[in-house]
Every structure is written in structure tokens, then in C-alpha cells.
Amino acid sequence: MAMLHTVNKSPFERVSLDSCISMAKKGSSVLLIEDGVYGALKGTKVADKVSKAMDGITFYVLGPDLAARGMTEERIISGIKVVDYAGFVDLTTKHENFQAWL
């Protein structure tokens, strides 16, 4: 079973992204939303951790939340896919269950 995880917290303030990565199984997906989108940025102190986790976990980031925060796709770790709300809905249907790391 493949699970969809969402993370909505900045990795610079909370451990949600860490906990999510350590409990997401290979084959699952992580969608970064709201303040969680900062975890998708290149050149940060958590970028290495995210890049390593991408070996086995697929990462997505919610585009409207990125744009709202002044971030463009060029600043995102390569391999992280940008989706809109329709894409968010699609991801929930394509995974068997869902966990929000609030």
C-alpha cells in the first residue's frame, strides 16, 4: 500500500518533516503544503535530508503555496514535482491512505 503524507510546517521550526520522512515507507509520497513548502527549497540545511529521502519516496510541493511565499520553481530541489490543488486531489485518490503531519 502506498500512502500519501502531507507536511504543512516549516522544517526550520518543527520536526514534522523529519518525523514524516522517518516514518514514510519506500514507495510512498510526501506533499509539502502551506509552510511545509520551505522544505522543498535548494541550498537549505534540510535540503540534503530531503534529497536522500527522495531515494524511495516521491516528493511533491503545492505550487500555489510556493508562489504565495515568493518562491519560484527554480529554487526547488530537482526531482520534486510541483502540483496545484487538482493535483493534490489526484494524489489522494492515487494513494490508498493519507496522513497529515500537523
Binding site: 503544503i33 502551506e34 487538482a86 497529515a100 500537523l102
Partner: protein
């Protein structure tokens, strides 16, 4: 697909109710069914029809009311969480001897069993909170 949505935070302080709204709108547009939206924790505050946000800002409650009316979505506010926070419908206000009620139309007050039922009946339960 049949979706249940759980909203755990009130409007404005957290983005949760906005993200959930955008998600629900996209789900409906894609032809999915929203079986129920359940408001819990401070999320019950979304149901207050006394909020008056500035005119140049979005009105979170109105957004939900319009979406629910247009798509016949069951909008349930947790009674225990609502009573703690001063959210009452007309019946409850009268029963508790309070001077006013403040639940916007479309929302109904009910028990946590409605959340569990959404978990049982829906293909996916999607949570938004803090």
C-alpha cells in the same frame, strides 16, 4: 471517489480552512463527492456567522457556505468542541439559556460520531489543521 474532510483550525490564524476549501473546490470540479466536512478543535469557529473580515480579504465562512450550498455538502460542527468555544445553534442557545446563537446556515451541530462515520463511509479522509 467519496471524500471526507476534517478541519481542525479556525479561520485566519491558520491556513488550514483555506487549504481545505481549495482542496474541496478542486475535488468537486474533478467530479468527486464530498460526503462530509467535519469541523473540530478551533475549526468550529469557521461556522460562526458573526465574523466580519475586511472587505478586501476573503470571507472563509462565506466561501464554505457557498461551496456547500452549490454542491449539497454536509457540513458538521462538533458539538463538544463548539460548546467549549461558544458556538451555538438556535436550539442549543435556548437549551443552555444563552442570549444568542451564531451558527451560519448550512452548518449543523452534531456529535463526534459523525466524524467516525465519515472515516468509515469515505474512500479517503483528508485532514487539515496545525
Amino acid at each position: 471517489m467519496k471524500f471526507g474532510i476534517l478541519i481542525n483550525e479556525g479561520p485566519f490564524t491558520h491556513q488550514a480552512a483555506d487549504t481545505a476549501y481549495q482542496f474541496a473546490k478542486a475535488a468537486v470540479a474533478a467530479g468527486h463527492e464530498i460526503f462530509r466536512v467535519f469541523f473540530y478543535h478551533d475549526g468550529v469557529n469557521v461556522a460562526s456567522d458573526l465574523a466580519v473580515p475586511p472587505q478586501d480579504d476573503r470571507n472563509v465562512t462565506d466561501n464554505w457556505v457557498k461551496l456547500a450550498e452549490a454542491n449539497n455538502i454536509d457540513m458538521v460542527v462538533c458539538i463538544a468542541a463548539a460548546q467549549r468555544r461558544g458556538l451555538l445553534d438556535a436550539n442549543e442557545a435556548q437549551r443552555q439559556g444563552k442570549r444568542a446563537d451564531n451558527i451560519a446556515p448550512v452548518f449543523r451541530i452534531s456529535g463526534l460520531g459523525q466524524l467516525v462515520e465519515a472515516g468509515i463511509e469515505c474512500d479517503r479522509l483528508v485532514t487539515f489543521g496545525d
